[in-house]
Symmetry: C2
């Protein structure tokens, strides 16, 4: 175990480098040149315009006002100043609640740190081990539970504290769950009209050879939801030729069409990339009209709309009231529960279009494949990496590729291959891990981006737990662990982990500094977007639109950020009783990350979708998991300390914690998965009273069109729609308070369309 000196040195190096990053950020952000890197959110909202447009050239690039440098750390209090309600309005509920995860960490760990230092550190420190030979610990060891001899009654202090910590954590968790649940319900209630409130996603419509399926579905909803059904679009994979004409004429009548328009999507991408040049090289294209992607796109769209094979067996069904949609989304429609599936339609930005039409059997097979694949990824990912690393063996290279001998014998290159390549292979894999997990989730067939991210986050957490937490403790690859787990008894495994835990405290302190502090400090500088923006700006930017596109606000990335936070929850809870010295390092991480991410959420990140904090049950569940793991670890540790009478107290803890979890699950989780009819009815009634002449059908008309079609219709249709809606807006006085937070369609479903049609954004709700 390291001494205080070692840790102090490492800490000061890390703190110094973090400070350098902070100062660098504070200065860089003041330069007008970087404005689009550090304040893209305001540009996207149209509340800030380029500082390059006016003034002298120098002041456009560098900030020369001396006084602004004096207040260079001002961004911190500024980031904290915005009240939560304003933040929700500005950046959406998802972002605001994401920040609460860091706050949750502070709420849990500040009192725990104080208590642990006030009670456990003295108890550990003042102990005089009976067998000094056995306890030749360093300073840190003296603060830790391992300073206490076998069978000592001082362990009762630790047992009491683990009870106190558990109850405190559960109390905070419960309060937080309650708060977030009511925030979510308040958010849903106060929200302006959104298309997904009225719309249900219908999947797996069974084909029928006798009747036109479009008619069939229309009848189904007219019959089974006669009072609520408003409009629908049945789109389906079938092969009859005679129906084509009828269907395509029907298609014109219906409103939301789900097209299997993958080919089209590619074309639109092509158009996108060329559109940019269009402004600049307009002349070149005007000569060669037929080759313009826009023309191709129009033809392809024609083809898609007319070809029944492009039509998927999914549809967006809209209802007259929110009540009707809530009823349809929460009930089973048909006796076969794998067809006529209904669920809440995700927000238009949140739809992952490719997965809308996966049939049930295919879906279950895909889940099996991914479950097996994830198991192998978690436990055997080291095998291909070890293989890549073995390729970096100098002797092998020399033997196999003798002509490279000259190069690899250069000492520097040799050192690089031997020292860095193996590490880089692992690093690269870990870098790609979120993408691999996201691909797995997409393959599994989930239909909304928010769910894809939540799923990836769960997997990432499991991967971290096995490979970072257990991997560091048992010190061996996960496949070795797997072997150990199957050949050791449950008691032995717990004992192994329990005994190893205090010894790995120093490692995890270093880990927190290098992974947690450094990555947060790196995030604040936004180095990647900064470099890329300036690179693009220098070489490629020709028009103002180019500059807009060069701007990369990024987004929160629940699937990468949350598993990292959860690892710190786990470390904090595990070491709270064992080695309280670790806790302050976690507090620094949570504080720093909270400030940095609050700043970025306000100024930088662009929200991809709004799920209404649907991820909170996952967050809650994982903290509970961490709590139970911490209790098990302590059980393993104390089982080696010859204090058998403590066991019943320790066994009771996970049982109680699990019960608490089930209690919370029943009490709060429904708020995140269902929509109470009473809320729906309330909003409907309110709306009917305030807007009796609302043209809902018109409103829902373009909400769920594949982004491919939207982008190519943007120019003409948007304008028409705008005019139409401006007219309607005049009839009713509007207050566009929160309409700003629906700016972009998701990048994941397609990279094509820069914005939703204005219809969605400018709705005339008072």
């Amino acid at each position: 175990m390291a001494s205080f000196g070692d840790i102090g040195l490492a800490a000061s190096i890390n703190i110094a480098s973090a400070l350098v990053f902070l100062v660098a950020f504070s200065i860089l952000r003041l330069q007008p040149l970087n404005d689009r890197v550090y304040f893209p959110k305001w540009y996207l909202k149209g509340l800030r315009s380029s500082p390059l447009r006016s003034g002298a050239f120098v002041t456009k690039v560098v900030n020369l006002r001396f006084e602004s440098y004096l207040r260079f750390l001002n961004w911190m209090p500024e980031a904290l100043k915005m009240p939560e309600l304003a933040l929700i309005d500005h950046a959406g509920l998802d972002s605001a609640v994401y920040l609460r995860i860091y706050l949750l960490g502070l709420k849990i760990f500040v009192p725990i740190t104080l208590l642990a230092w006030a009670v456990l550190v003295p108890v550990n420190w003042t102990n005089r081990p009976s067998d000094p030979d056995k306890f030749t610990h360093s300073d840190i060891g003296k603060l830790s539970i391992s300073n206490i001899p076998l069978g000592s009654h001082r362990f009762w202090a630790h047992i009491t504290m683990v009870y106190v910590f558990t109850f405190w954590t559960c109390y905070v968790l419960q309060k937080e769950y309650e708060t977030v649940a009511s925030m979510r319900l308040r958010f849903l209630a106060s929200e302006r009209r959104r298309p997904d409130q009225f719309t249900v996603l219908l999947r797996n419509v069974p084909p029928d050879p006798d009747e036109s399926i479009s008619k069939l579905v229309e009848h189904f909803f007219l019959v089974n939801h006669p009072d609520n059904y408003l409009t629908h679009q049945v789109v389906e994979l079938f092969h009859g030729k005679s129906d084509t004409a009828q269907i395509s004429s029907n298609l014109e009548n219906y409103l939301q069409v789900v097209y299997n328009a993958n080919k089209l999507a590619k074309l639109v991408k092509e158009k996108e990339s060329k559109q940019n040049r269009l402004d600049y090289y307009q002349l070149n294209y005007s000569r060669n009209q037929s080759k313009r992607p826009l023309m191709k796109i129009a033809a392809e769209r024609e083809r898609v709309t007319n070809d029944p094979d492009s039509i998927m067996s999914a549809a967006f069904v809209s209802f007259k009231t929110r009540w009707g949609a809530a009823v349809c989304a929460q009930t089973q429609q048909y006796r076969d529960p794998t067809t006529w599936l209904t669920e809440w339609a995700p927000e238009p930005r949140d739809v992952y279009w490719k997965n809308l039409a996966t049939p049930y059997v295919q879906l279950t097979i895909k889940r099996l494949i991914i479950a097996v694949a994830f198991f192998f990824l978690t436990f055997f990912f080291m095998i291909p990496i070890a293989f890549v690393q073995s390729l970096a063996n100098i002797e092998d290279i020399r033997k196999e590729l003798p002509f490279l001998k000259v190069i690899i014998d250069v000492p520097f290159i040799k050192a690089f291959i031997q020292g860095f390549l193996p590490g880089i292979a692992l690093k690269l894999f870990l870098r790609c891990l979120p993408n691999i997990l996201m691909i797995m989730s997409k393959f599994e067939g989930f239909i909304s981006i928010s769910f894809l991210e939540r799923r990836s986050a769960s997997r990432h957490y499991i991967f971290n737990f096995v490979n970072v937490f257990l991997g560091s403790i048992i010190a061996g690859s996960a496949s070795k662990q797997l072997n150990a787990f199957s050949t050791q008894s449950a008691k032995e495994i717990l004992k192994t982990i329990g005994v190893a835990i205090p010894m790995r405290a120093t490692f995890f302190i270093m880990y927190i500094m290098v992974d947690g502090w450094a990555s947060t400090a790196g995030e604040i500088l936004m180095l990647n977007p900064l470099i890329i923006y300036h690179f693009k700006n220098f070489f490629f930017v020709k028009t103002e639109k180019d500059r807009e596109e060069a701007m990369d606000p990024g987004s929160l990335g629940f699937d990468t950020g949350e598993p990292q936070i959860q690892l710190y929850f786990l470390l904090g809870l595990v070491y709270a009783v064992v080695t309280p010295l670790l806790l302050p390092f976690i507090l620094v991480f949570f504080t720093l990350a909270y400030v940095v991410f609050r700043h970025h959420i306000i100024n930088v990140y662009d929200q991809e979708y709004e799920s209404g904090a649907a991820f909170w049950p996952d967050v809650h569940g994982r903290v509970i998991t961490a709590l139970i793991i911490a209790q098990m670890v302590l059980m393993g540790l104390l089982s080696t300390q010859e204090l058998p009478q403590s066991m019943p107290f320790l066994i009771a803890l996970p049982v109680l914690t699990l019960w608490f979890h089930l209690f919370c699950k029943g009490r709060y989780e429904p708020a995140f998965v269902r929509y109470p009819l009473q809320e729906a009815m309330m909003k409907d009634t309110l709306e009917r009273a305030t807007e009796p002449n609302l043209n809902l059908k018109g409103y829902l008309q373009n909400a769920y069109i594949h982004p491919v079609f939207k982008s190519c219709d943007d120019d003409k249709e948007d304008e028409e729609d705008n005019e139409k809606w401006e007219e309607e807006s005049v009839l009713v006085p509007t207050k566009r308070q929160s309409c700003r937070n629906t700016p972009l369609p998701s990048k994941m479903s397609s990279n094509s369309s820069p914005s939703l049609p204005e219809v969605v954004q400018k709705d005339p709700l008072p």
Copy 2:
């Protein structure tokens, strides 16, 4: 291991005793004296009247017609003759599907037995062990997998067969799930009108100090289900005095009242027992009018109806259409998911009244308590029994209670205390186990008897698995097993079980004969009801009504029967590959039990409730569990046989089986827990077309009254109702085909009322 001779002897003894029982039954059932014991179902249906009423005395008691004895085994084909649809009509879907469990056993095990005997027995038998010293098995051992030497490639035959058996079992399970699901849906669709189709049970209505809660609830449903809401009764625990008058006047208007009428229930019980005497000792009572329980009851009922403290926070809310009820039952009503809880109302007979008003927090605490209690019951039940057994220690008794010395020194009594008492303590406990489990389920707060039974069955299965299956294999008390499991690794545990399995084959064959065959043969004779009926008949029966009450048809008892069957599924699947000799014994059990229970369901058992085969997902899940256990056991067994290349094939099996389970769960389970809107709408439409003038409110009026009130109103109200309904029935032509299978209110909710009011039974559906 026993030889063929041993097993043959045991089998012939068991078969002989089973035959004796069968013959005794065949003869006894022909005696008119026993008619009410062996044909009570027909009496309850009113299709058979007492043979005692007419004819000579001798022919009334003993059957003297010789020719009927010639055909004395005729009951068997007769029991099998009734087609399934008629059986459903006669005894309900629950009973018909319960029989399908035995059929499922036959469908799975007949082909498996044939294949195992055709393939595996020769493979095992023809083997010449390389090390004859090690393989000095008896004859049975030669048929078993343990006859094959280490590392032999003959094990591939077993691995192939376990795949074949798994696929066959899954195939049959899937077909059966499909059949039962469609039977259930057809049953629900073809059923005549029942009050629970229109009614939703509302629980946990939150108290409100400002408004009369009754009004509050009425408004809630009028607002949130305006088009569907028909009528409701809000009944609630509150303490204001001023509201009393208003509430009690409201009460009169509302229809279904849930009363906390436990005190009243006791009085009614008292009345019940005395009512019987009433016919006989009429004079005694007529002198002392004020003491008659009937008078007390009337006063108490007055008190309950007027006292707001007796009112529970639960209500039965009825809707105009099945569609409305289906919507309300499947959706969340209020933002707080622990209040305004709605779920399908159970059938009136199926309601467990005492649990209707348990608040959420109390419910979760109760579940925790029961979970812990069940854990201790399963793993430590031997401790109190061992304590009781230690009381039977002769030396201790002699020391502590010297005055008993004279008695316990009698050799016979001494032998009895030492030899039988310990066994009797265990036997008594096992006898009481279903009751203990049922009490636990009731304490947990479930609201329908069918669910209580399903819950008890799950627990019984777990208890059997731990204490019968594992207990016989590891040979030790469950608490010792628990210790072994925590100190052994997963691999070792599997190995221990795998190695022990072939050696315990003889034991389990004996177990199947003693427990399975003998208990089924005992069931056919109905010895308990037979003795009790004749005992009562001889000593107590004074009136015809007495004789009716002395009749004890009993019921299926899902919570006792199903776990036993499942144990045989487990044994069959485990031994199919290991010791195929066991399979025929299981086939005999399934065949015998099928015939016996089919006879009893047709002639004896009286259905307590109708849940529409809601138990099938449990049955399916437990067979899957057995399948996975069988695969694990084989894995443990083969892991000791030095054939490492077989492991991947064996590990893939449980993964595939689990996946199959999830597939079936998603595919078929919703049919058992939800009610598709399309089905509801279809029935509504049909009914509206055929009975446009239906007085639904009148129909639902008395459906959900606490049985206590029903029984004391029986005399006067039933007659009124009957008249009213007879009148209405005249308007529409009726065909009372299936109205016969709703005869009795559940005995469990209260032992008071002999029948539902006629309203429920005679409904005028065409």
